[in-house]
């Protein structure tokens, strides 16, 4: 009686390995398959707020924010909510954000893989509320990097970093008070920023030892989440290629089968199965997805979440996951790829990004309009649009397309024709991903 029911999973329909479920997370209800938008920048977050509050897209009601971005993206806006300023139209400032909080399922991702990947290492230093072991680690790495650069041995830094990263997690694994305090602090921050799901801070799995540490943190994290106002999720961050290790993959599946946690979140770092070759790699994922879909069928009350999916969003949502997520640009990587002055446009039919330069030709063949059914897309004139408006538009278009995909999968399940999801992939530019969806 004391702990209110925070998660209700009601499987509505199933077609072989795919399902439609109604998921109630605290006071919010979503229908699966569902897409959660990962927002990495302030303008992306604003676009997500607009999409969730203004569009009637039912399958994009979730948002993922990385912990080190949360203060500037959400924290300041939560503070604004305590004020009663009005804008020129007589609406309360942050009215849309208030609506967003009521409607959206927010997930604060500890994103501790960025202690290993260089891209956002400095972000850990910008927020003083972040757990001390993490910010101390980032500080030390940045100082060491500078030291190696000055001593004209920058190539030594990655080796030192790899060793130090392993050492950091090993030390945390042994030091229970420090580790448990850090987990508790991460949960507290998540709840401060209104996360509906609690994800523990885990290392990116690159070896069996790190897998062991991730399991240990997941077990302790579950205990520490007791009495908190959000549902706990088991969380594993998988380095690309790690699932090729069959033993490790089986261990992960075994753990997920026995864990009492009702939400399982898996993050696939820099995963791109669309590249030619990588046959073993694709087979590993094919097998892994099938193992997960069996598990999901056996434990209907569990919710499976895939974070940072890239182009794999569509097959992952069709086979094993209830919730899928990727960044607004469609690129989960941290490179500048697709971030030129005029970014690439996601083609709903080809299921890949098309460079802006190529759009002129495509539009000419389509009465100077983008080949997309969204009302927003119909009003775009690529000849006159400025770069900022274009980039905002194309990001929203990407998320709306994900909504279309989720609806497409839902309809296929309702009609008991989930094989149509496979057909969709066959007719796209990422047709090799069809292997991820079983034929029967």
């Amino acid at each position: 009686m004391s702990s209110p029911i925070r998660l209700i999973v009601d499987e509505r329909q199933r077609d072989r390995y795919a399902r439609i479920a109604r998921i109630q997370l605290s006071d919010k209800t979503i229908t699966t398959p569902h897409f959660f938008t990962l927002t990495k920048k302030h303008n992306e977050f604003q676009s997500t707020v607009e999409l969730i509050t203004e569009s009637n897209a039912p399958h994009i009601q979730g948002c993922v924010v990385r912990l080190f971005d949360a203060r500037k993206m959400i924290g300041t806006r939560l503070t604004n909510l305590t004020q009663s300023r009005m804008d020129v139209l007589g609406r309360y400032v942050e009215e849309s954000f208030r609506t967003f909080l009521k409607k959206a399922v927010l997930v604060i991702d500890p994103a501790t893989e960025y202690l290993f990947y260089e891209a956002d290492l400095s972000s850990w230093n910008e927020d003083k509320t972040l757990p001390k072991p993490i910010s101390d680690y980032a500080k030390k790495c940045l100082a060491k990097k500078e030291q190696f650069r000055k001593s004209a041995m920058p190539s030594e830094y990655p080796k030192w970093k790899e060793a130090y990263h392993t050492q950091f997690w090993n030390a945390l694994s042994r030091d229970a008070p420090l580790r448990n305090r850090m987990i508790g602090e991460v949960f507290d921050l998540g709840l401060t920023y209104r996360s509906s799901i609690l994800l523990p801070p885990v290392p990116v799995i690159r070896s069996e030892k790190l897998m062991e540490i991730a399991i240990q943190i997941n077990d302790v994290g579950q205990a520490i989440s007791a009495g908190r106002g959000a549902e706990y999720a088991n969380y594993f961050i998988l380095q690309q290629g790690i699932l090729d290790n069959e033993e490790l993959r089986d261990r992960l599946v075994r753990y997920l089968s026995n864990t009492p946690a009702r939400i399982v979140a898996l993050k696939f770092k820099y995963l791109n199965l669309t590249d030619a070759g990588k046959v073993t790699h694709l087979s590993s994922y094919e097998e892994f997805l099938q193992q997960l879909s069996f598990l999901k069928e056996a434990t209907k009350g569990k919710v499976f979440v895939a974070l940072e999916n890239g182009y794999q969003v569509f097959p992952f949502a069709a086979v094993a996951f209830d919730i899928v997520s990727t960044s607004m640009t469609g690129y989960d990587g941290d490179s500048a790829y697709g971030h030129g002055e005029y970014g690439s446009w996601f083609d709903p039919e080809l299921m890949v990004h098309v460079p802006f330069e190529d759009l002129g030709k495509i539009c000419r063949n389509n009465h100077n309009r983008l080949p997309c059914g969204h009302s927003m897309c119909q009003s775009i004139d690529i000849a006159t649009i400025d770069a900022d408006s274009w980039n905002t538009y194309r990001r929203k278009h990407y998320v709306l397309t994900m909504n279309d995909y989720m609806m497409m999968i839902q309809k296929a399940i309702r009609d008991r024709k989930i094989e149509l999801a496979r057909e969709k992939l066959i007719n796209s530019d990422i047709s090799r991903l069809k292997r991820l969806i079983p034929r029967v």
Binding site: S2, P4, A226
Partner: protein, 161 residues
């Protein structure tokens, strides 16, 4: 003596290493789970033996759970046996209009002593987690009479003001 059922409990070293508030929440959750898993009741000693939690900690949590009416105790000779408080038949939330973070939940409960109306006071803490602050249980047969008495009390208070 039949051994009591317990959920999977973390090693005591891990429990001790948690922050005090996290530890309290965890221990309380485990004790509630134990009460749920053992409808025939449990004693402090049985929980201590199975979980390795400190005796004082277990006793304190059981007393708190009994005080908030989430559990109830029965003296059997010189031993106190604790039970999870009944099965919820019906529940309704009522928001406190003077304080948005406070809610009263009305439950209709059934346990071996009969049917009860249970009013639980809940509050959101700083992390927006729901915490039980208190509770009162009234025998369902006496509930309407109780309301009448409460009403006449309130009218008396108002007159005095």
């Amino acid at each position: 003596m039949v051994a009591i059922q317990v959920p999977k409990v973390l090693p005591i070293k891990e429990v001790i290493s948690m922050r005090p508030q996290d530890r309290e929440n965890y221990v309380e959750k485990i004790i509630l789970n134990i009460l749920e898993m053992n409808p025939r009741g449990v004693t402090v000693s049985e929980i201590v033996r199975k979980t390795l939690f400190y005796r004082d900690t277990v006793a304190k949590h059981l007393e708190r759970l009994a005080a908030t009416r989430e559990a109830y105790s029965v003296m059997r000779g010189n031993v106190t046996v604790y039970y999870r408080n009944g099965q919820v038949v019906h529940a309704t939330d009522v928001k406190d209009s003077t304080s948005p973070d406070r809610t009263y939940t009305f439950y209709k409960l059934e346990n071996e002593d009969g049917k009860f109306i249970y009013v639980q006071e809940k509050e959101l803490d700083e992390f927006r987690s729901v915490k039980v602050k208190g509770g009162i249980m009234i025998d369902a047969r006496y509930a309407l009479q109780f309301i009448k008495e409460l009403q006449s009390f309130l009218l008396g208070v108002k007159r005095d003001e």
